[in-house]
């Protein structure tokens, strides 16, 4: 119990230091761009494929239910709303946590284990500014883009199933979607969610790596904790955010 409170204190202090030392990431943006490749670009494959399948399943299940009420033309709206409000930000963040979050933790944890972080400190280069901050900001920047791509590909997956395979009318698929999805209310809120998830996942990942016990077992434990903690944080935060954002107004 006391150890958990200690950890929470260390995490808060670490996060504060991280923000204070982010100046270098802004001045030398090439460091962030390099990490954007590793966290963002290399996560694209899993995001694209998962998005496509999630959209296709939504199309199938949505059609099954809607056609009972003769409302199958609303399938476009159902797919798009589910994706931009919930599934896009949440599933993309969960995938991001397991794909990029775990990699960030393992990398920083191993750099600590092999004394690379200490060596950097001895060279008068702050490891939080040089190693942690660029990875953090790259994660924060990547997340909303990945979520948006996930939703877009998901909508395409829904279209493939509903229109191309099942045969829902093309025009009503898109027009229902257009009339039901509100930019400010649905899309912007979805983007805000994914930004918050991005901060949460990456903050957990860099902290777990930096705080890892410098042994093989310590790093593997830290990597597991990153995936578990950030997944739970995403789901918890999603409930809180949804309850504030979507209150039945439309």
């Amino acid at each position: 119990m006391i150890e958990s409170i200690f950890r929470l204190g260390r995490a808060s202090r670490f996060f504060l230091l991280l923000l204070l030392k982010s100046g270098m990431s802004l001045r030398r943006f090439d460091l962030v761009i390099r990490e954007l490749y590793f966290t963002g670009v290399l996560s694209l494959i899993i995001i694209l494929i998962s998005g496509l399948f999630v959209g296709m399943v939504l199309g199938l299940q949505g059609y099954e239910t809607l056609q009972k009420y003769g409302a199958e033309s609303a399938i476009g709206a159902l797919v798009a709303l589910s994706l931009v409000r919930e599934l896009g930000p949440v599933v993309a963040a969960l995938l991001f946590a397991s794909r990029a979050g775990s990699a960030i933790t393992a990398e920083i944890g191993l750099m600590k284990t092999t004394e690379q972080l200490e060596a950097m400190g001895m060279m008068a280069v702050d490891p939080i500014a040089r190693v942690v901050a660029p990875r953090f900001w790259a994660g924060v920047i990547s997340m909303p883009f990945l979520a948006a791509i996930f939703s877009a590909v998901g909508v395409f997956g829904g279209y493939l199933v509903a229109v191309v395979i099942v045969g829902v009318d093309d025009g009503s698929f898109w027009s229902q979607m257009q009339s039901m999805v509100d930019f400010r209310y649905d899309i912007v809120n979805g983007i805000i969610k994914s930004c918050i998830f991005g901060v949460a996942v990456t903050a957990v990942a860099v902290f777990e790596g930096y705080d890892a016990v410098p042994t093989a077992q310590g790093v593997s434990g830290a990597t597991t904790r990153t995936v578990v903690t950030s997944s739970l944080v995403i789901l918890g935060l999603d409930f809180i955010l949804t309850s504030f954002m979507f209150r039945g107004v439309s």
Binding site: T114, E115, M122, M123, A124
Partner: protein, 270 residues
């Protein structure tokens, strides 16, 4: 004014929790010399280097480096001081995501605004000094242990520091690499006019290259002297250490109860 002493350590003590590691160390390191600090595994040699570099704070006593008390420096001054010293870690601690060239260039890029052509020349010169100019494109994973150690050595002298600390530079090397590293430490110290502190338990190599040797045992300086004095020392500790004898002041067994008692023979065997 330059004095002849670069580092002066006075009554330095350090403990991890309740476990005392160092108990009142006194030693001096003269400028331009190679000083070896020897002792058994886990006697606090590496901790001593960390104390000199300011990454841990002593529980009492102090390290004076070039006239400044290290643990009293604020963060900025500590980082300014660290630009003038460097440390070679036991297994090199090369940055695994950067090539050999970028590893050596790391500090130059971080601390100077030199144009790319000068960085290139400087890095190649440092790599040439350790005989690895041709390996500048390799990644650390492609190097052998000895080569990695040499790259780390090139990296540690990249900004011509006044002090280089070597943490177990000979561990795990074959005899050729070992002697190459040893000679490099000696040659670079003389050629660049820097000071070297060598933490090691390799007796023969240290006797070859060091100017002065300190022995740490049980957290205190057990003996010290020039290599010649060490070779002819009659101190039982130095004798046991230099000749690698099993019996002597340093016990083979970790402190324990009686053997018979531990084997539960004490009561039943009578």
């Amino acid at each position: 004014m330059l004095t002849d002493t670069l580092i002066e350590i006075k009554e330095l003590s350090f403990s991890y929790g309740n476990r005392a590691i160092l108990k009142g160390i006194n030693l001096t390191v003269p400028r331009g010399k190679v000083v070896a600090i020897m002792g058994g595994s886990g006697c606090g040699k590496t901790t001593l280097l960390r104390l000199i570099g300011g990454s841990v704070t002593p529980s009492s006593g102090h390290v004076m480096l070039a006239g400044q008390v290290v643990h009293k420096l604020n963060r900025n001054d500590l980082f300014l001081m660290r630009r003038k010293i460097s440390m070679l870690f036991q297994f090199g601690a090369l940055f695994t995501d950067l090539s050999v060239f970028e590893n050596v260039a790391f500090q130059i890029r971080e601390h100077t605004n030199f144009p790319e052509s000068i960085i290139r020349d400087l890095v190649l010169m440092k790599l040439h000094a350790v005989g690895l100019r041709g390996a500048h494109n390799l990644m650390p994973a492609e190097l052998s242990g000895g080569m990695a150690r040499r790259v780390a050595l090139a990296r540690s002298i990249a900004l011509d520091p006044m002090l280089v600390m070597y943490d177990e530079p000979f561990t795990g090397l074959d005899p050729i690499s070992l002697s190459v590293i040893g000679n490099l430490i000696r040659r670079l110290t003389d050629a660049l006019g820097m000071t070297s502190i060598l933490v090691t338990h390799d007796v023969q190599e240290s006797l070859k290259i060091a100017d002065y040797i300190y022995f740490i045992s049980e957290g205190v300086i057990a003996a010290h002297g020039t290599p010649a004095e060490v070779r002819s020392s009659i101190s039982p500790f130095v004798h046991q250490f230099v000749h690698g004898e099993e019996n002597g002041p340093v016990p083979f067994h970790y402190p324990s109860g009686t053997y018979a008692g531990d084997l539960s023979l004490g009561n039943n065997f009578v």
